[in-house]
Symmetry: C2
Subunit: 326 residues, 2 copies
């Protein structure tokens, strides 16, 4: 069977089955946003995200945008674990005809993000390749037992997100289809200049309320399904509560794009979290203290899967191996 | 200017210039075999190595060989720092037509190496790509100040290697040119089934004698040049002392391959180290205790660069961006 027929998720399930592990592994391959490992008196958090020019960098992305995007995608996995960034590595595959000036632009974008999140770019690799390839690695730390994992949701919890949903998916659509951007810079900027919710993740983790968390880069509903699956619960979401920007609504209305598109497409680096009901106000206040927001969009119930306004969903999410997107 | 004109080393020099760093960074990008970071009561060692089907996996490599090779290449960077392996991550770029059975073979090879070196495969990523791409990450630890760095060589030190030089380079040549392998399985196995010198690296580091170390995957003379450059000294090597296997000598004689080829081509995962002269016997005994070997091939003198039998060398080493190798 070919990889494209199986798709990314089933392929990963198949590949990680029966991997060797030892007592230092707290969360291993395929188990959470990042690996979690015992390391001295703390825990080491490690995530890696690989991107290819042919799939991930649409025309219209400047080198600095590309660099920032790869850095933020990796940092977002630390955010989803409530981790403190320590450092980053980047390995490059470079066509021999690739312009050095563009590479310098990419590094500039990476370095700006590394500085912003205090996660120095400390190593990696450079090799010849057929297309521009960037593999990032984010290393972070949490106190023992302090990570936000995907398996911590319990019936009764509040489900919440850290920001607006769908801006980046529309921004990507605008770039891919070379649509007019006038009036929609919020959407294109959400894609081109993303932010990782590191401070929000840490604020939530510091409340020590046993929350669950995941980023929503493969789509809000996909992530809801993952937390539900890993925690053995059902996430019941209310459509009206899901924060969608004015610009996204206006754009979607104008071009006949359904709200489902916004909820099923990724590229937003917001966090989806669940928090015990009696702790939610406290956690929201803490997130607001650092300038963030935490918006309730539903609650956790017994059962399996995801409900949207009471209707059970079949969730697919974005799958790069199955996708025909350029 | 294009990347291929600049070449890998000058490109890296250019790209890492002026990167952001903070007080946790002990060794950053371009400074050693791996990044070295303060982490609680210990130091975190992190290295990443990326490989592409078109450059790194010649015909004749089985999926298990490919998996093992990527794992060992990354672990070798931990070995060169004298680090204890903690875990590994692997990110994959996969053409949609790639056979799932082959991927499973690759994972099998990776997992076998992870188990052998007690470094569990704990995470990574999977995306669509134009050619098979594997980016590995090795995470390890050392006690504070315990790493073997490239900048520790001092005039008077003994220069030594952990094993035979050139077997793997000839093994790769045999595979690339589809030559007869009968009688030369030692050479092809050196390429297909490499070992990382983790135990040797740790044994040397545990002697606490302020040694310098680097692996020789880009060629023995290139690594000698790197240690010389980073330490501000000259490495003086004696050709007759460099351990070359009977099989390699026989093969090289038969096909008219110069000894320079063996010393300038990589793929061997041996370590090149320098040790204070009065500590060398002690360190060698320690390495022998764990079943390894440490062979003196020269000594460190004042000056710059590398001497081979007293002759100053101009060193190039393997450069994937400049190479026309398939």
């Amino acid at each position: 069977m070919r990889a494209g027929e199986l798709g990314e998720r089933r392929l990963i399930e198949l590949l990680v089955r029966g991997l060797y592990r030892n007592s230092r592994v707290v969360a291993g391959a395929g188990e959470d946003d990042a690996a979690l490992l015992s390391f001295g008196d703390r825990q080491l958090v490690a995530a890696s995200d690989i991107m290819f020019a042919s799939t991930h960098f649409p025309t219209g992305m400047k080198p600095e945008h590309i660099g920032r995007k790869v850095a933020v995608a990796n940092l977002s996995d630390l955010a989803a674990m409530g981790a403190f960034p320590v450092a980053m590595l980047f390995s490059f595959g470079i066509p021999t005809v690739f312009e050095v000036a563009e590479l310098r632009g990419i590094i500039k974008g990476i370095n700006a993000a590394c500085s912003e999140y205090d996660a120095p770019f400390v190593g990696g690799d450079t090799k010849k390749a057929r297309e521009l390839t960037i593999c990032g690695v984010a290393l972070g730390e949490v106190r023992k037992g302090g990570a936000l994992t995907r398996c911590n949701a319990k019936a009764g919890d509040v489900v919440a997100v850290t920001g607006e949903i769908g801006n980046a998916a529309l921004g990507l659509k605008i770039l891919l289809e070379r649509m007019k951007t006038a009036g929609y810079s919020k959407l294109t900027n959400a894609f081109l200049l993303p932010r990782a919710r590191i401070e929000e993740g840490r604020a939530i983790a510091e409340c020590r309320v046993s929350a669950a968390g995941m980023d929503i880069t493969d789509g809000l509903l996909f992530s809801a399904g993952e937390i539900a699956r890993m925690s053995g619960v059902c996430l019941s979401l209310e459509k009206d509560r899901i924060p969608i920007s004015e610009e996204a609504r206006k754009f979607a209305r104008k071009y006949g794009i359904s709200e489902d598109f916004l909820l099923n497409n990724g590229e937003d680096y917001e966090l989806l979290v669940t928090v015990r009901k009696n702790k939610f106000s406290q956690v929201r206040r803490k997130v607001e203290t650092i300038g963030g927001s935490l918006v309730k969009i539903g609650h956790v119930v017994e059962g399996r899967g995801v409900l949207l306004d009471g209707r059970k969903l079949k969730i697919t999410g974005y799958d790069s191996l199955k996708s025909r997107q350029p």
